[in-house]
Each structure stands twice: as structure tokens, then as C-alpha cells.
């Protein structure tokens, strides 16, 4: 067992689970989607991205790119939320919530890919 691998797997899976937690619920119902969960998903996703830095293998490269996609989508979701809550006159409307959640849904897909790579890498190594 390798502590580095534990931390690596932990952050990748945590990013996916937090993202999922934010995503589930009715698409446009603000009460089903907690802003703190989005924040946590974004932070953990960023940490997971940095953890993937510096791997020279092909799989490492794909890992990094999925994480970058997730970051991008979550960041976009956060920006939409910021715009809705502070800039747009109508506030956080159901349409805006739908947009935020669908963005995070895209990020969720990237995170799922990341988890699949993690699993397949583990299976490939057989140790």
C-alpha cells in the first residue's frame, strides 16, 4: 500500500461523489442543490487536478485532461451562480438553477471518466 495512491484515489473519488451529490435532485429546484456542495466539489476537483500534475505516462495525461474538463465545467457553474445571485436582477431563478446543475452534470461525466480510468489502471497493474 502506498499513501500517495490512497490520497490520489481519495481525491478523485471524492470529487466525483461531491459532484454527484450536487447534481442529484430536480433540475430546476434550488432547494435540491446546495451551494456549499458546489463549492466543495470545485475545491476538491482543483486539488485532484494538481495531484495529477507531473505524470509522464499516457494514462496520466488523460487523467489530467478529464480533471481539467471537470474544473472548467464546475467553474462555469460557479460563474453562472455568481452572475445569477449578484448581477442579474431576477436573482436565482429556476432557469438559472437548471443551467448551473446541467453544467455540473457535464463535470460529473468527466469525473466519472476519471474514476473509470482510475479503476482500469488499478486492474491493469494487478498489484
Amino acid at each position: 500500500m502506498n499513501l500517495e495512491k490512497v490520497v490520489f484515489g481519495f481525491f478523485i473519488v471524492l470529487a466525483a461523489t461531491l459532484n454527484f451529490g450536487f447534481f442529484v435532485g430536480e433540475l430546476d429546484n434550488p432547494t435540491h442543490h446546495d451551494i456549499y456542495e458546489l463549492f466543495a466539489a470545485l475545491v476538491v476537483s482543483l486539488v485532484a487536478t494538481v495531484l495529477k500534475f507531473g505524470d509522464r505516462t499516457q494514462i496520466g495525461a488523460v487523467h489530467l485532461s478529464t480533471s481539467l474538463v471537470a474544473d472548467l465545467q464546475l467553474f462555469a457553474a460557479a460563474m453562472i451562480w455568481g452572475y445569477a445571485a449578484h448581477v442579474s436582477p431576477a436573482g436565482v431563478t429556476p432557469e438559472m438553477v437548471a443551467r448551473i446543475v446541467s453544467m455540473s452534470g457535464g463535470a460529473l461525466f468527466a469525473n466519472v471518466v476519471s474514476v473509470i480510468i482510475l479503476i482500469s489502471e488499478t486492474i491493469m497493474q494487478r498489484r
Partner: protein, 590 residues
């Protein structure tokens, strides 16, 4: 391995080392923002308000980066201020740690080395003109690089010593000289330095270590078999090994000098001529005193001394050897003792000797031998061996008849080989020709061109270098050297250069061909002339108009329209004279 993976590895190294500080920064920012959204605040009406993520992130961003715009959107409550105090210190720690790791990463020796190799190999890859690869930037390397730069050749340098690489930047060469401090024995480094580059025209191995030079020669032989290699070799075994696998030129400074001395003893004029032709460009050669035949004394029977003894033996000049060590050959007179001791010198017969060679390993000993010997016999011919270039001032002050500086010998030889390939066969031929003829040639050349080291160049008459002359010769015209060697400015003046050697086929070549010799396409000629004459000559053989003027004295019409017009005029010959005189250019007459 090509440089790309190395470049990527630098990038990955940076990323990997930056992982911890980046994660720390992210965590600190996240904790600060989260804490700030949880800390209760009050608005202007006294209602409890929480900061949104947007405001919290905004506030923490400008606080962490020490910009500090103040408390928004309302003045903070004490709970919020307490948390912000913690955040400020957290963020200071985070930034200090991140910046610290960035700077330690940048000053990392491995990383800097990797960057240096990267920069160097990029500079070499971008070279788009012929260049020489010089291994070793010692005294000899510097001489060769200086001369290459003056001859407008590019050079790439590999040198083991970092401080000497720094010197290159201070030298102020006209062209940029890419240099790296690395071991030339490493074939990877040689590749980065352009050994396999299409524009690499020669490899010059001049390190002071025979094994390194040998390694360079082998690498060049295997990786770039077509590129000529020049190697310095101190030991005879190394020289043999190098020659065995086809190193084009092996330069052994002591052997070189021994051969020159032998030449000086039996054909002084050939020796003087060689000195004059192979001097460093831009210097003036003084007329040396010819070494006399007679009894000689050799002090110091080392590597240089042994070469000198065999050269003297070949010329039947008696030598007395003065050395501390016991003799291992009994064919010569031996005197035990130090050359610095006047008694030993007297015992060796300094009063009746013709010359003395101070050839010990110590420069100070050599100088004191020379001073002591001249004191006893002022008419002695003194040959001094200078080991260290740094002692140059002392040796110049003493003014010996011949000063043997190995680095200079190698430098001169390198230049002769590199700049003018035809010079080496000419000089070899010179050693075999009649001494009286050599003397005549030498007198003629120096009276015409002066004592300054001439510009020496060789050129082949082919389509690439001499298109105009080549076409005329292929048309079957007879062109003599006398007709060709005229100034393209004013054809009544002769160009200030002389043809030394003409190489026609593998077996047909002429030493100093006379002015009536006709040229043929494919000839290769060696010329020596005053600075500037080379450009005039190259212009005349390459440019149709210049060549026509030099040979016939008339100007060719330039451009398509004038050519058509002149053809029309030829058809009507009457008009020609009138038109011609009006278009005649006014030329200054000397």
C-alpha cells in the same frame, strides 16, 4: 535521444515539484472562503447577514494578494474580523511557501543544467550556415575560435570548465558562439552540439586530454563519417590509434615542431615561407634567424626533447643532452645535471655550441637555462619551450630565436587545414623541393606582398564558385593566369596576389605556375595575396560583367533590353562605334 523528451521532463519536473505548494494554496483559499461565508455579519440595519461565496471569494482574493480594498458589502462584524485575521496569516504562509519553492526550483542545479542544454541545442539546431564543432576551449581552442571568427566561420564550443565557457561570452566575437559546459566524451552532448547537423563542416578536438580527443574522434567517425575531424594528440600511441580509424588530421604539436625544425635546418627558405603562409591572419611575420648547423645542446629529455633529438638525428646534427635522469640511449653525449647550472652547460660545450633547446617541463627552468646559456655564449641560437600560455609576457621579454608554444602550433595547423585545404599539399610539396628554388619563391612573394601574413585561399573553378570563368572555359576559350589576375576596378593593374599551387588532376599539379599557364575547368588553385585581393578575384571569376571587363576591357550591356539592343547593333556595325563611345564609363586610371 532527441531534445524533446528532455524538454518535457523539465516541464514535468516543475509540475511535480509545484504540487505541494499549489495544493496548499488551494486549501488555504478554500478554507478562508468557506469560513468567511459561515461567519455571521450585520448589515446597516442590524440584521444578521452572511457573506455569499461570491463576496467571500472576492474579499479573500484581494486580501490574500495584499491588495486590500476594505470590508464589503458592509462593515464586518467581530466574528468576521476574527476569521479574516486568521485568513491573513494563513495566506501569508501559503504565499511564502509557494514563492520559496518556486525560487528553490529555479536555482536548482539540475534544472539549470537542463535549461542550459535546452537553450544550447536549440541555438545549434537553428544554425543555418556552416559551422565547426570545437571541443575544448583552452588556449588552443581560444586561438582557433578567434581565428574562425575572423575568417567569418561559425563555431560551436563544448568545454568541461564552466569558467572558460563564461569567458566565451566576454570575448566579444562577431558571430554568436553557442557554448556549453559539458563533457565532450558524451556522444549525446556531441549530438546536441550539432555533430549530426547538416551544416556541421568539421569537428576539432582540442582538449588537453588525449582520451577525450580520442573519444570525440571515434564518435565523429561513427555518427558522422563524412565530416572531417581534426584531433590534437600529445602521445604517439593516441595519434596512431586516431589515424588507424580514419581521423583526417592528427596534430601532434611536438612532432609538428620537430618536422619544422628539421625543415629549417636543411631548407631555411621553405621554413620561412611556411611560417609566412601559416601565420595568424592580421599579424606581421618577422624574418627569423635561420637555425645554424653545428653542435646543439638539449636541456630536458622529455616528450618534446625526444622528438627534437630524432629530428636532429635525421639532419645529422650532433646533440648533447643535459638531463637529471640516467640516459636510456647511448647514441648521444649525455651530461648529468640541471640545465640551469652553468657548470653543466659548460660541460656540455656551451662555449662552442651553435644552438640550445630549453625543453624542460618548467617554464621558469627553461627561461633560466636560456638566460644562463646566452650569458656564456651570446651568439647561441635559442629555442625555448613554453609550457604555460600564461607565462607569455616572460617569454616575449626574453626574445628567444624560436619560441615553441604548443597551443599556437596546433592553432596554426588547424587554421591552415580548415581555411585552405590546398595549403597542406602545397606545404608538403614544398618540403621536398629544391631549397634554392624555395628561396627564390620566398623572395619574390615577400617583395611583392610584404611581410604581413597574406590572405591565403584556394578555389576550384566550377559552376558553384566561379560560374563566369567556368562557362568561358567550357566554351573553349584560352585564359591565362596573367590575363585573369587583374583588378576588376582597373584592368591595367595587376591584382596583388600570386598563384602558389595549381591542382589539376590527382597526378598533375604545379608549384607556383608561371603567368602564361592556361586554366582549365575543374582546376583548383591556391592563392596568396594582400587583404582585399581575394574579394576582387572572387568577383572576377563569379561575375560575368567583371570577368568580361578583366579579360577584354569592354563593358557588357546589363539587362535584357540592353542585350537585345547590343545584338541589334552588332547586326548594324556602323552605329556601334558611335553608341559605344557615348556609353563608355569613365574609369579612374592609376
Amino acid at each position: 535521444m532527441n531534445p524533446l523528451p528532455r524538454h518535457q521532463s523539465i516541464f514535468f519536473l516543475i509540475l511535480r515539484r509545484m504540487r505541494a505548494p499549489l495544493i496548499l494554496l488551494i486549501v488555504i483559499m478554500a478554507v478562508s472562503v468557506l469560513g468567511l461565508t459561515l461567519a455571521p455579519g450585520v448589515d446597516a440595519e442590524g440584521k444578521v447577514q452572511y457573506l455569499s461565496f461570491f463576496h467571500a471569494f472576492y474579499f479573500i482574493s484581494y486580501t490574500a494578494t495584499t491588495i486590500g480594498f476594505g470590508e464589503i458589502p458592509y462593515a464586518f462584524s467581530d466574528q468576521q474580523r476574527l476569521w479574516v485575521t486568521i485568513c491573513i496569516y494563513l495566506s501569508v504562509i501559503g504565499w511564502a511557501y509557494t514563492l520559496g519553492s518556486v525560487f528553490s526550483l529555479l536555482s536548482d542545479r539540475n534544472l539549470q543544467q537542463a535549461f542550459a542544454i535546452q537553450r544550447f541545442s536549440r541555438a545549434v539546431r537553428r544554425l543555418r550556415e556552416p559551422f565547426y564543432l570545437v571541443c575544448g576551449y583552452g588556449e588552443t581552442g581560444r586561438l582557433v575560435c578567434d581565428a574562425l571568427d575572423r575568417l567569418r566561420h561559425r563555431a560551436v564550443v563544448i568545454e568541461l570548465d564552466e569558467s572558460k565557457v563564461g569567458e566565451i561570452e566576454l570575448q566579444g566575437y562577431a558571430a554568436d558562439v553557442p557554448a556549453i559546459d559539458a563533457d565532450a566524451r558524451n556522444p549525446e552532448i556531441l549530438k546536441f552540439a550539432g555533430l549530426t547537423h547538416p551544416h556541421c563542416v568539421g569537428v576539432i578536438a582540442l582538449t588537453n586530454d588525449d582520451a577525450s580527443n580520442l573519444a570525440v574522434a571515434i564518435a565523429a567517425r561513427l555518427l558522422a563519417p563524412k565530416i572531417p575531424v581534426l584531433c590534437r594528440a600529445q602521445g604517439i600511441e593516441t595519434a596512431t590509434t586516431m589515424a588507424a580509424f580514419g581521423t583526417r588530421h592528427v596534430i601532434n604539436p611536438f612532432q609538428e615542431f620537430a618536422e619544422m625544425l628539421a625543415l629549417a635546418l636543411h631548407a631555411p627558405a621553405a621554413w620561412q615561407l611556411t611560417n609566412w603562409l601559416t601565420g595568424l591572419p592580421g599579424t606581421t611575420v618577422e624574418r627569423y634567424r635561420n637555425p645554424p648547423r653545428g653542435a646543439w645542446i638539449l636541456c630536458g629529455h622529455g616528450r618534446f626533447g625526444q622528438q627534437m633529438v630524432s629530428a636532429m638525428d635525421a639532419e645529422d646534427v650532433p646533440v648533447t643532452i643535459v638531463d637529471r635522469d640516467l640516459p636510456d640511449d647511448l647514441g648521444h653525449r649525455w651530461v648529468h645535471g640541471e640545465g640551469t647550472n652553468p657548470d653543466a652547460l659548460r660541460q656540455a660545450g656551451v662555449m662552442t655550441a651553435a644552438g640550445i633547446i630549453a625543453a624542460t617541463r618548467s617554464d621558469i627552468d627553461n627561461l633560466s637555462i636560456a638566460v644562463a646559456a646566452r650569458e656564456l655564449n651570446p651568439s647561441l641560437f635559442v629555442i625555448l619551450h613554453q609550457n604555460q600560455y600564461a607565462n607569455r609576457a616572460l617569454f616575449e621579454a626574453y626574445d628567444a630565436d624560436i619560441n615553441v608554444v604548443p597551443s599556437e602550433i596546433i592553432g596554426h595547423e588547424c587554421l591552415a587545414i580548415l581555411s585552405t585545404p590546398l595549403l597542406v599539399p602545397f606545404l608538403n610539396e614544398l618540403r621536398r623541393t629544391d631549397p634554392a628554388w624555395c628561396a627564390g619563391l620566398f623572395e619574390r612573394l615577400t617583395s611583392r606582398l610584404g611581410w604581413e601574413v597574406p590572405e591565403v585561399w584556394s578555389t576550384r573553378i566550377n559552376l558553384a564558385t566561379a560560374p563566369a570563368l567556368y562557362r568561358r572555359l567550357m566554351r573553349g576559350e584560352d585564359i591565362t593566369l596573367a590575363a585573369l589576375l587583374r583588378s576588376p576596378e582597373d584592368r591595367t593593374e595587376r591584382l596583388e596576389c600570386e598563384v602558389l599551387y595549381l591542382d589539376r588532376d590527382s597526378d598533375d599539379h604545379r608549384m607556383a605556375p608561371d603567368a602564361g599557364t592556361t586554366l582549365r575547368a575543374g582546376d583548383e588553385i591556391l592563392l596568396a595575396g594582400k587583404p582585399g585581393s581575394r574579394n576582387s578575384f572572387m568577383l572576377a571569376i563569379a561575375n560575368e560583367h567583371a570577368l568580361n571587363y578583366v579579360l577584354t576591357g569592354t563593358d557588357l550591356p546589363g539587362g535584357w533590353i540592353w542585350e537585345r539592343l547590343s545584338r541589334a547593333r552588332k547586326a548594324a556595325p556602323r552605329q556601334v562605334d558611335g553608341e559605344r563611345s557615348s556609353t563608355h564609363r569613365v574609369r579612374p586610371r592609376a
